[in-house]
Symmetry: C2
Subunit: 259 residues, 2 copies
């Protein structure tokens, strides 16, 4: 089983889209995939047709049980999707209160890691979607995963924000015992925008080892896909965006990304 | 003095772009404008050339002083920008710890409102940029402002997220004594994307009173502008995006938006 996390403190860079598209590709190849929604805003949960405002059982239940010193049962929180064998561990909006409630309480950084280990025999891949903010949820994702994917828009402001994300990553790396591979993924690349090409060059200079060798292009069909609630990789296997994520997946699974 | 807040729990919808462009337009008209960065990620602060990681004096200082029962001095926190008389009250990354530190402590919802009242004679307009998450920072912005602007991408997932934002708004409205006007602004509208037109129609049906009568179109020049750190309204007054925000400003200032 391989656990991936997709995170960036910057909003709207394609985190949820990355989780949905990669999970779609793998489940079409017959892999058993679980997607985990750690975002209180619940984009991933909504994408698959559930309502984060009304869900009783969600990722939040894991934290609630741990804070009450009970053993959570992650199995009971999983939901089927229309794309069997793709399953979902949904978010609820109550997650937004977690930082306030838990505060600086010790030992809440490994809640998710422990829960996902309990599911080890059931899935080949687990993808964790993160909220656009540093806090206990992002720390849990970075502690639980083996490979961190960092989507970055190819634009100037996003590069400044990435420095901050890499500092957060360095902090987590010091606390972890096991190594953590990470890949920076240039997203929404628009070859007609002059500053996008410049930003991409700058990105490759700043992080020569970590940036994926290609890019995810701008593809308007991603928005259509989110309207249907069907991953683009499933509804349109020959779309530009699907092809690009397919190349990314091939490189991640077979390329030289072992940190 | 008029205080505006720009908020949406969804990331990457154009919050910071809306603050920068409207503030740019007003300061070009000779209005005295302050922009306030409440996002721990500090996009607005970075845009104007400051580093949210190293700033000593920032919005965070207001909360720190209040928690320590001292009177904060907002005047001492303001920074000049290249676009006099446009000034900035910057963010620092320490803001990310606020929810954890303050927890459910009483009375921290009006810190910003009090600080901005102390600046009343100095500015004609104040724009508050919010992080993409519900917490003490967004609540402060909604308590301090007289008019809330909610940028929403014209796509399906964003509409689901908007329902949640409107519930948060309803909660704040109940707690406030003074009325709060609000306007939903369709952003990044791309007329070539079929589902964008459908999402816009749906948006107008769901919130007939609150949606602005026009749209902010997709304009690649916004990304170029963020590279230069110059509001598009200043660097390119005839750009599609600038014209659209100019029409928005005219409607907000003169239109029938008084709640
Ligand atoms: N390569 C792409 N080309 C064009 N549009 C894209 C692309 N990737 C994502 N999008 C669109 O951009 C918007 C933001 O994407 P998404 O919601 O995946 O970002 P996110 O980082 O998860 O946002 P948040 O910070 O709110 O969690 C969505 O409307 C999505 O459809
Ligand atoms: N109308 C537009 N057309 C095209 N691109 C746009 C438009 N508005 C904003 N952008 C671009 O979209 C990206 C996201 O915009 P912005 O950072 O303003 O969103 P945000 O809501 O403030 O994000 P966050 O949730 O991270 O605070 C930026 O690259 C910006 O340049
Ligand atoms: Mg997301
Ligand atoms: Mg922003």
């Amino acid at each position: 089983m391989k656990i991936w996390a997709v995170a960036n403190q910057k909003g709207g860079v394609g985190k949820t889209t990355t989780v949905v598209t990669l999970a779609g590709l793998l489940s079409q190849q017959g892999q058993r995939v679980l997607v985990v929604d750690l975002d209180p805003h619940g984009s991933l949960t909504t994408y698959f047709g559930f309502d984060p405002d009304t869900l009783e059982r969600s990722v939040y239940t894991l934290f609630q049980a741990t804070a009450a010193e009970q053993r959570p049962d992650p199995e009971a929180l999983l939901r089927p999707t229309r794309f069997e064998p793709l399953r979902l561990l949904p978010a609820s909006t109550a997650l937004a209160t977690l930082d306030r409630q838990l505060g600086s309480r010790e030992g809440m950084g490994l809640v998710l890691a422990r829960a996902l280990q309990a599911l080890a025999g059931q899935f080949d891949h687990i993808f964790i979607d993160c909220p656009p903010v540093v806090g206990v949820l992002m720390i849990n994702a970075m502690a639980a995963c083996q490979h961190l994917l960092i989507p970055v828009q190819t634009e100037f402001l996003a590069l400044k924000g990435l420095e901050r994300m890499m500092r957060t990553l360095a902090m987590v790396l010091r606390a972890r015992k096991r190594p953590l591979a990470y890949t920076i993924i240039p997203t929404m690349f628009d070859r007609h925008i002059r500053s996008a090409a410049e930003a991409l060059t700058q990105l490759r200079q700043n992080y020569p080892e970590a940036v994926w060798q290609s890019v995810i292009p701008v593809d308007a069909l991603f928005r259509e896909a989110s309207r249907e609630g069907i991953p683009l990789s499933i509804s349109n296997p020959t779309a530009r965006g699907t092809i690009a994520y397919g190349a990314l997946l091939a490189d991640l699974l077979h390329g030289g990304h072992e940190a």
